[in-house]
Assembly symmetry: C2
Homo-oligomer: 339 residues x 2
């Protein structure tokens, strides 16, 4: 059954208190190994009771491994079979991250689901480079399994392979031979077209075990979620609801709404009349005023609305699946989000 | 009975939703004529249902007149007996503000309490300049009364007079001869010492009518509130709880707590163990992490905590007054806030 995880990279979903996050309908949130190990350090979090206690979130938490940040954020990352050496994006300090170290950090954090360290190849990349990154990713997955000790922490592997169907299937095949609790599809949402992403799902999902959760990392737009659920994906995380919210873009069933637009200046309507979020207690005119005036409450309210929108979209999908009516549901929702 | 109004200058108390504001214990909030007339314009707010509807605050609202902003914020303000001409701090546009215009704006906003436009003299100022500003303030108060039409809107006058006891008393005397619903003490918290402020209250409060609310504008620190309540002040507003909260300073009964300090890094305790606010569901270590990481949730949580602190301080004062135990209450609370 599909679920969407709001992103709490630094042990906070940006702009929302725990009770606002709950009210938005979130069930599970994501934290980040890379960020939290650098600041405040996983030992600090451990001494403050672990990540759940630290951020005050009693529900399940998945921690990403840092593999994506090696690709997107770290300076001068050097990846070898041993692991990665990089400069912290915070202070330039040289840090090492290996599959074993990523598990060690996540066991200190105490998340419910840990991710193996993977090697993300940017797109486009040389086929040989992607093949090498796949081989390394599978090897690292094996090493992660070998050192993971917490019985209360599930471990998910990550399928790489760029846009090459053959590599994706081969990587998935090799990983599914190992006893992971779930399988993620990584290395997407890095600049490829939606069609390329869907095609990658089309070839990868059938190779994944039917009774293990499938997690599409870092995706995406409402239409991406709908298309991916259709292809058998269960779990998502994405910064879009909060990041776009902070930039005055609201998600609605009629599509995106850019609140800085002058046409909303005296608009008395809420973003969505049926939405229970705190933003929808106000008019679009008021929300626009908050952004134009540079008030914190604008980003806060739109983050709450967008997360609520995503959770309602996903909860509707779950309901539709139960009722065997997902195709209809998807068609109805796509009207606002069709390309 | 004393009350504290959180400051919602631009129709939002910075960083808090309406339900968080209620949960902090706020009963009445302050909005600002100057800011709201410039952006989004009082007509826009009127068309969106008035200030209560616009910001979603169902409780009472007091709007300041803009007099203080002419002193603190407007560029090149020229004040004459007629009114003031200034450049907007937003776009440099030339704007005029008169006592009549300030009433007109506030009647459009539909606040429960409107303030007359006053002429704030900075400190130190020439005695003749202060005397002139007083005369003008009384004249403007008279003109405001003459044009105010909304029977559902109370009008408060503002006593000026700098640090000169004689001028303060004279200004208060002249204003109390006019039928205002309440009396404010303005022109303080502009750089004078606490002792000078208290002395000004000592000479002014006795001249004010006992059965009309007395509002000390823009004040202040917890100890200032305690000292001022002792001298007969009923109503306060101040940006300190929210502004200091955004800057990682927390108010507690033990005094201020600067959360960026390294000593809180692994501090498991909440800011205050008895505080019901959302910040106090977390450890000081977590709150420090939020500020060090530049996360929005730090300013949000500390704003909520500080407003809750102020409301609890004031609510305790009310309780103590009812029990005829204010002196004891003040002495106990001053322990953390004594100079």
């Amino acid at each position: 059954m599909p679920a969407f995880m709001p992103v709490g990279t630094q042990a906070t979903v940006k702009g929302l208190t725990i009770s606002q996050l709950r009210a938005a309908g979130a069930e599970m949130v994501l934290g980040n190994t890379y960020h939290l190990a650098l600041r405040p350090g996983e030992r600090v979090i451990e001494r403050l009771g672990g990540l759940h206690q630290f951020m005050g979130w009693p529900g399940p938490i998945l921690t990403d491994s840092g593999g994506f940040q090696l690709y997107s954020l770290a300076k001068c990352a050097e990846v070898s079979d041993e692991g990665a050496i990089f400069q912290s994006h915070i202070d330039g300090q040289v840090v090492q991250l290996s599959p074993e170290r990523a598990i060690e950090i996540q066991e200190s954090l105490g998340s419910d689901v840990a991710m193996v360290l993977d090697h993300v190849a940017g797109l486009p990349s040389d086929p040989e480079f992607i093949r090498d990154a796949c081989r390394r990713t599978v090897d690292w997955a094996r090493r992660s399994l070998a050192v993971a000790r917490r019985v209360d922490q599930a471990l998910f592997a990550i399928v790489q392979g760029g846009l090459c169907g053959e590599l994706r299937q081969q990587c998935a095949q090799q990983l599914t031979e190992l006893p992971f609790s779930g399988y993620a599809i990584g290395g997407l949402s890095v600049g490829e077209t939606p069609a390329q992403m869907y095609r990658t799902l089309d070839v990868t999902c059938p190779v994944l075990p039917p009774h293990r959760p499938r997690y599409l990392m870092g995706v995406g737009r409402p239409q991406d979620l709908l298309e991916s659920i259709h292809r058998g994906v269960d779990l998502f995380d994405c910064v879009m609801p909060t990041r776009n919210g902070r930039n005055a873009l609201a998600f609605t069933d009629e599509g995106p709404l850019r609140l800085r637009n002058l046409k909303y200046k005296e608009d008395q309507r809420p973003l969505e009349s049926q939405c229970p979020c705190p933003a929808c207690r106000h008019s679009r005119g008021y929300l626009r005023h908050l952004f134009v005036s540079g008030e914190m409450l604008g980003p806060i309210l739109l983050s709450a609305h967008n997360l609520t929108y995503y959770q309602r979209l996903i909860s509707g999908a779950r309901q539709a699946i139960v009722e065997d009516a997902y195709t209809l549901y998807m068609a109805a929702k796509m009207k606002g989000w069709g390309e």
